[in-house]
Symmetry: C2
Subunit: 218 residues, 2 copies
């Protein structure tokens, strides 16, 4: 059932998706017409409907998947290696830097609101992204628990859920305010609270905590 695609065909399809994604990032979903995509990617209407027989909806879905994958890729290799506090900080830096650069141009905000309601597939893409994201964070929390850097009392999944919520909200507020303040505050305070959990536990046992050069947020 998979449509036969020659090498050239695959290249064209990829070019369309990438071009459409760029265009959408730049000007918003509802401002982008098929004609814009054609102009921006040097393709014709025949090509668009050749590669995306269901038209705009199918194209938007492909763009959404493309962007969702990109979001996680942009966080690697940090996200998959949250194995020490410096690693967590490096991840934090990468996130903030990435979104600061992105600024107001959020690829997924529009796609959730636009396609989300009518296309059940878009919903699935976003949900899948969030699920993978949260799991990666939870894995990081569990690793830190295994090394004693985070208290075993912490519910890793719940902590990851809270952290993910903070990130999403921070990005959402970045869209409104244009500043990364909220994202930074959410990341710092949540991570700090995880660090504090270990320190509290340590106090209960030894009355001292290992100095690691980290003195709280900011």
């Amino acid at each position: 059932m998979t449509r036969a695609l020659t090498r050239k065909g695959e290249a064209t399809r990829a070019r369309i998706v990438a071009g459409a994604a760029a265009e959408i990032r730049e000007r918003g979903v509802d401002e982008v017409r098929l004609e814009d995509v054609m102009a921006h990617t040097g393709t014709s209407k025949g090509q668009l409907f050749h590669y995306f027989p269901d038209g705009k909806e199918e194209l938007l879905l492909a763009v959404a998947q493309h962007e969702a994958d990109q979001v996680l890729l942009d966080q690697e290799p940090m996200l998959s290696n949250l194995t020490s506090w410096p690693a967590w900080l490096a991840w934090r830096e990468r996130l903030i830097e990435r979104y600061r650069a992105q600024g107001v141009k959020c690829p997924l905000n529009g796609l959730l609101g636009q396609t989300g309601r009518r296309a059940p597939g878009a919903q699935a893409i976003v949900t899948g992204l969030m699920w993978r994201w949260q799991n990666a964070i939870a894995d990081g929390v569990r690793h830190m628990q295994s090394t004693g850097d985070i208290s075993g009392d912490v519910d890793a999944d719940r902590a990851a859920a809270a952290l993910l919520a903070g990130i999403q909200g921070g990005v959402l507020l970045l869209l409104s305010t244009g500043k990364t303040d909220h994202l930074e505050a959410a990341l710092d305070l949540t991570i700090d609270s995880l660090r504090a959990s270990a320190r509290t536990q340590t106090w209960q046992v030894t009355t001292t905590s290992p100095g690691d050069g980290y003195a709280g947020s900011r």
Copy 2:
């Protein structure tokens, strides 16, 4: 410059805004046509353009303002009286209950993505809402600091920013997952961390903390 509006006229205008808001909440911004609003509110096209000369854009802006105000109103009187831990919990409950009831139907998500890009006014409305919201939270934090329930070391504005980010992200994830788990986790963990800050400080002074019947989240 304010257009003369008779009593009847004002009623009609309000009916249009409320009806459009309901319709948008129910089916999403981009699915609602002016014709739908007309049918749902028992008005004619002439009326729509009589009260909103700039057409759909002006109507959407009015709806956005209406919904933004409602968001804060729904949190009263709790939001303006964050003066004790039970009060904070009551606010927490109200928030979760409200958004659980709302479910996937978010009035502002679409409005930010839709009108946000083209109408600079929509951006301002959302920004204003967030600003008022965060200030209310920050006031609550400061009050708790004045009573010693939150450590004076905490940066109230920054804590409020983080909490607001958690809320926004929690709601955003509610839109994808249909569950309030993220919202609850973000609220609980952030509030707990504020409580913990006071407890830590108390320990440093007296080694005991006043039992107030609250034993952490969940």
